[in-house]
């Protein structure tokens, strides 16, 4: 076994376990074991397991975002210090000071690249599981010869799950191309929606001023190209995985932005207004330090600082995604 194969072995084993497990479940409740939809649903099940396992990371992320508002005056101070200085050294000094300040206060808006890196081996693992199955070979674990054969020959709307757009371009069927193209369009649309939601609504005014934020926006325009590449080069099954993962991210982000937005952001102000309309507004002072928000929401609680407010209202938020 080659080097990458050795690394992927446990991942492939786990992926096969999850997919076969879901496949067994769907067959048990009466779906035909050999049709495409059963296997697509099994892939969806895989996404659910993987993304659910990542939820604690997101909750942690949200919590540290909420703490960002406590330090936003300090952040603003640093930004004012470097206001109008666009040269490289000032930018670097500013990033440096900002990071030092995050550490001092025990919080950071960044989650490290681990959540992304964790998903990559899963993606490659699934790729090799699908590739293997499409050669009609048994997998490394629970994917037996029979199941692999069934997986390889499963079709959804006349398109085999192991076919790629490139294969179909040469020798059909055309359905593969239609489905792949549809998935690419849907993925791009959902990604755009998610990113726009995050960057335009769920970002505090201070963050909007930072150079990091502006760089983040570039993402929006690069990602669609990755989807096109994936849609053309990778088998349909893999694109179903990516598509489902995207939809999950979109829904998760929607819930987060609506229910626990970043204090000081547009979404936060909208939520305050919604709560006020319903007469349920409890904690209004969280956004006061971040300045420049909605006109009427906060005067009453001005004198109370955020620490006291927190004491008054312990655990007012909880993970609900």
């Amino acid at each position: 076994m080659d080097f990458i194969g050795t690394i992927l072995w446990p991942i492939r084993w786990a992926i096969e376990l999850i997919i076969v497990g879901w496949h067994y479940l769907f067959t048990f409740i009466g779906l035909d074991p050999n049709v495409g939809i059963t296997w697509v649903l099994s892939i969806v099940g895989l996404v659910v397991v993987v993304r659910a396992a990542l939820i604690p990371l997101f909750v942690k992320q949200i919590k540290s975002q909420r703490r960002m508002m406590e330090i936003s005056p300090k952040l603003k101070k640093i930004q004012d210090k470097y206001k109008g200085k666009k040269d490289q050294f000032s930018r670097e000094a500013m990033s440096r000071e900002t990071m030092a300040m995050y550490k001092e206060n025990g919080t950071s808006p960044f989650s490290s690249c681990m959540p992304i890196l964790v998903q990559m081996p899963i993606f490659f693992g699934l790729f090799s599981v699908l590739r293997n199955a499409s050669d009609d070979k048994a997998g490394v674990g629970l994917l037996t010869q029979n199941l692999a054969h069934s997986f390889a020959n499963a079709e959804i709307l006349g398109a085999p799950l192991n076919a790629t757009f490139m294969d179909a371009l040469n020798n059909g069927p055309w359905q593969v191309m239609v489905i792949a193209a549809t998935l690419v369009i849907l993925m791009t649309a959902s990604q755009f929606y998610t990113q726009l939601q995050i960057t335009s609504k769920n970002v505090s005014d201070e963050t909007k001023e930072s150079p990091m934020y502006k760089q983040q926006r570039i993402l929006l325009y690069i990602i669609p190209f990755m989807f096109v590449f994936s849609g053309v080069a990778f088998p349909l099954g893999l694109n179903f995985y990516w598509f489902t993962s995207n939809v999950w991210a979109m829904v998760q982000q929607f819930i987060i932005i609506r229910q626990m937005p970043t204090p000081g952001s547009e979404a936060y102000r909208l939520r305050q207004q919604r709560l006020e309309r319903k007469g349920k507004l409890e904690v209004t002072d969280e956004g006061t330090e971040t300045s420049g928000q909605g006109p009427r929401s906060n005067q009453r609680q001005q004198p109370m600082n955020s620490k006291r407010a927190k004491k008054k209202n312990p655990g007012s938020t909880g993970p609900n995604s």
Binding site: K103, F110, S112, C113, M212, I222
Partner: protein
Amino acid sequence: MSAVASNALLIPRNIAVGLLVIYRFLISPLYGDVCRYYPSCSRYSLEAMQSHGFLRGVWLTARRLIRCHPWSAGGIDDVPERASSDLRVTKHGFVVAHPHRKAQ
């Protein structure tokens, strides 16, 4: 050591620098800003390669990547400085031998 020989010794690290520059240009922006440390992991790796060479660079990078996870404290984490060096870094990040500048 002649300049040619020292430049030949610098080849491994310069290959690494080239790969890192490409990574930072093409792939890094896809992630956006996610690093909990300053400088970011790829920048750290680049600097480690430039000042400590390929082998130690790989070692330092691996340790940094392990350090950088969602539960780490983050903050400023620079590459350990090297006592003296007669190397020069070009504007594209590559390292060349530059023994005559040493006196300055």
